[in-house]
């Protein structure tokens, strides 16, 4: 039995046992359902082996939604615990595990797949391409992300959750203070998902630089494509730091190296340093595609072109560079001198300038526009004032002297939620509503959608504004409780109500999906929002080859040109189309990665070696495989086009 002891949970509770049962029951239900409805073949052929960027995009989005709910349940538990002083709902250890899981899940397994999902679905369509540059690699990226996320998610029922915060600072994250395998999960699961993300970065940079439709010069790319290009460049430069850092952390924990220990020449704060060398660019990786979505939505529903296209592009280029120059603002209080802090204070304030430029560009786009309020537009309009609150408090935190007061208090927690929720989450919900008809062939209900947007926006304020005040009064972050005498009770109760409101908003979102699936009209045009860019120029549902004829582009709004100025989008005749073949190898290889990661977490060296051999076998197979893709004949294209036009 000794062998199995390691899989036990060091700090169990009835809730965790209940979750175990729930996980087993759900898994059984899924397997039974798939078998009963004979869907295994469909699942394998159409989804698990697909290399189609649209399907991979949809799988990313579904995973992100799933993780949003996992992270959301964690958030509700934390807020419930803090709602009243001296509460006994959770003990300190559980609270630690929950905020760590919440942070990692929300940033790496919710926000990241959300933006990458949209890039997958939208970018190739927007630039008039048939797929990404390396479709097979794209499938590997997705499955590595997915397996990494799943590995992380089982930690709380097998061996114990990580509990050193999503930043996992050493020496706390070292063996001495984090004895369970939890932090191993952190190191390995994020490593696997991160490799997938790095490959996405390379893939999309190549796609955008090499595969644009004729006539689409760099300065004629739609704004979402621009933001994706910049984002992927940041990914390519920032993620290697994380990869190396996690490898060093793993070695410290498993092989006795001394990179981040406090003795033998180790440097514990070096972890914090390199974590934020990756971590700060990471927040811009999340926000830039969100800005791209807002730009598309705002120009579509202000019914005009984007104000200041060039300054939008340049501000993103500048942000991408500056985002690598500010990381020390996350640990101003570490003890370094005034010189270093002053330098990083100044760079931090500088980055607010290009961000401000973008806000003004959106305002000026609205100024001269004929505004149509739809759900995506409502999210975008709510985003501007709410995000400004987050941004302004960010500048406050950026002043290193003042930060000694704010650091590690609820003020900080309020700040980053006020940027991440209005900035990223609203954009994802706007994008989801906006692109839903292109993805699934019907629209989400607008009345429920707008109600959801209002509930989420108001609840965000109710949940996070009180934290600014308790933070200034000294309520520390990551503390599982506080005494009655502090007087933090009432404000925290308000905050809990806001959290419940957010939960209600997300439930309403799910209800909207259910309601619209049942009742919404399937008879919609390929361009239901009267939009301006190429993704709306092809049919709904989008055929596997995207465009039967390669589109011609002469401005950043080709579809609008075609609709209003008689621009001819599709010149020429059907030609045979060359498309990549599906493959099961990405899924199989990533599943082996899961086994690899699991073995690593528990130091099971023999399975680890076998899994490593398996991974190399998959790569060798790929090297020798003769796969030239397949061709879609002109006749087949004609039939498909005929059918889609009729429908």
């Amino acid at each position: 039995m000794d062998f199995f002891d390691r899989f036990a949970i060091p700090h169990a509770s009835p809730a965790i046992y209940a979750s175990m049962v729930a996980i087993v029951l759900t898994s059984v239900a899924i397997v039974a359902g798939l078998t009963y409805f004979k869907k295994w073949g469909y699942l394998w052929r159409e989804w698990l082996t697909t290399v189609d960027h649209k399907r991979i995009g949809i799988m990313y989005l579904l995973s992100a939604l799933l993780m949003l709910f996992r992270g959301g349940v964690d958030a509700i538990m934390m807020r419930a615990q803090l709602a009243a002083p001296e509460s006994k709902l959770l003990d300190a250890q559980h609270y630690n595990e929950i905020f760590t899981t919440h942070g990692v899940v929300m940033i790496l397994f919710m926000a990241m797949p959300f933006i990458i999902g949209f890039m997958n679905f939208v970018v190739p369509l927007q630039i008039g391409a048939r797929d990404v540059a390396f479709p097979r690699l794209n499938a590997i990226s997705f499955w590595l992300f997915f397996m990494g996320a799943m590995l992380f998610n089982i930690s709380f029922v097998v061996g114990g959750s990580p509990d050193a915060g999503w930043t996992s600072y050493f020496p706390l994250a070292g063996n001495e203070f984090s004895e369970s395998v939890g932090t191993n999960y952190y190191m390995i699961a994020i490593q696997i998902a991160g490799i997938g993300t790095l490959m996405t970065g390379i893939n999309f940079m190549t796609t955008i630089l090499k595969m644009r439709a004729p006539g689409m010069t760099l300065m004629k790319m739609p704004m979402f494509t621009w933001s994706s290009l910049i984002t992927n460049a940041i990914i390519v430069f920032a993620f290697p730091v994380l990869t190396v850092l996690l490898a060093m952390g793993t070695m410290d924990r498993l092989f006795g190296t001394q990179f981040f220990t406090t003795e033998n020449g180790g440097m514990d704060m070096l972890w914090a340093n390199f974590f934020w060398v990756w971590g700060h660019p990471e927040v811009y990786i999340l926000i830039l595609p969100a800005f791209g979505i807002y730009s598309q939505v705002i120009s579509t529903f202000a019914r005009r072109n984007l104000y200041g296209y060039k300054s939008m592009v340049w501000s993103m280029v500048i942000i991408s560079l500056l985002s690598f120059l500010v990381w020390v603002h996350h640990f101003f209080t570490m003890g370094q001198g005034a010189l270093a802090n002053s330098i990083f204070s100044i760079t931090t304030m500088a980055i607010a300038v290009p961000t401000g430029v973008k806000i003004f560009n959106w305002l000026l786009t609205l100024w001269k526009g004929k505004i149509v309020i739809t759900t995506p537009m409502l999210y975008s309009m709510l985003f501007i004032p709410l995000f400004t609150i987050g941004g302004v408090t960010g500048v406050m935190l950026g002043m290193s002297a003042a930060d000694y007061q704010y650091h590690n208090t609820m003020f900080l927690v309020a700040h980053f939620h006020m940027v991440i929720i209005p900035g990223v989450v609203f954009a994802m919900l706007a994008g989801l509503t906006f692109y839903w008809p292109k993805m699934f062939g019907f629209m989400l209900n607008e009345r429920i959608g707008k109600l959801t947007a209002w509930i989420i926006a108001i609840s965000t304020l109710v949940a996070f504004m009180p934290m600014f005040f308790t933070g200034l009064d000294g309520q520390a972050r990551r503390m599982y409780t506080y005494s009655e005498a502090t007087g933090f009770g009432p404000l925290n109760m308000i905050s809990f109500v806001g959290a419940l409101g957010l939960a209600a908003g997300f439930v309403l979102l799910v209800y909207n999906v259910y309601y619209s699936t049942r009742y919404a009209s399937r008879d919609i045009s390929a361009d239901p929002w009267d939009a301006r860019t190429l993704e709306w120029a092809t049919h709904t549902p989008v055929p596997s080859y995207n465009f039967a004829v390669e589109p011609q582009v002469s401005s950043e709004e080709p579809l609008w040109d075609a609709k209003k100025n008689g621009h001819e989008l599709f010149k020429g005749e059907y030609k045979e189309i060359h498309m990549p073949n599906n493959s099961g190898v990405p899924f199989i290889m990533s599943s082996i990665f899961f086994v690899w990661g699991f073995s690593f977490v528990f130091s099971l060296w023999i399975p680890l070696i076998l899994a490593t051999i398996g991974i190399f076998a998959c790569m060798t197979h790929r090297s020798f495989e003769k796969d030239h893709g397949h061709h879609i004949s002109v006749k087949e294209i004609e039939e498909t086009e005929e059918k889609l036009r009729g429908a």
Partner: protein, 93 residues
């Protein structure tokens, strides 16, 4: 025959071996820490540039603008990261 003989690659190969040998001297000869680090840094950067240009064909295609922009961008970020880290973790502690 001239066109067939990859003179540039052979020269590059020899030169990269020389660079490796020079770097190894730091281990085998007795020298101060500063001299040793200087030699290592210089040979490392020259070696990386050589590999990129000669063996990874940077600059041989139409998109050399994009390739060099990326390389310079990466270089700038690497240097900023290293010197910023030295500043906060060592020099200004």
């Amino acid at each position: 025959m001239r066109e067939l003989f990859p003179a540039k690659q052979v020269m590059g190969f020899v030169f990269s071996l020389v660079l490796t040998a020079v770097a190894l001297l730091v281990y085998f000869l007795d020298m101060s820490f500063t001299t040793g680090m200087t030699i290592l840094l210089i040979t490392a950067f020259v070696q990386a540039g050589l590999q990129l240009v000669v063996f990874m064909h940077a600059g041989e295609t139409k998109d050399k603008g994009a390739i060099y922009t990326n390389i310079y961008y990466g270089l700038i970020i690497a240097l900023v990261t290293i010197f910023g880290t030295l500043l906060t973790m060592v020099w200004d502690m």
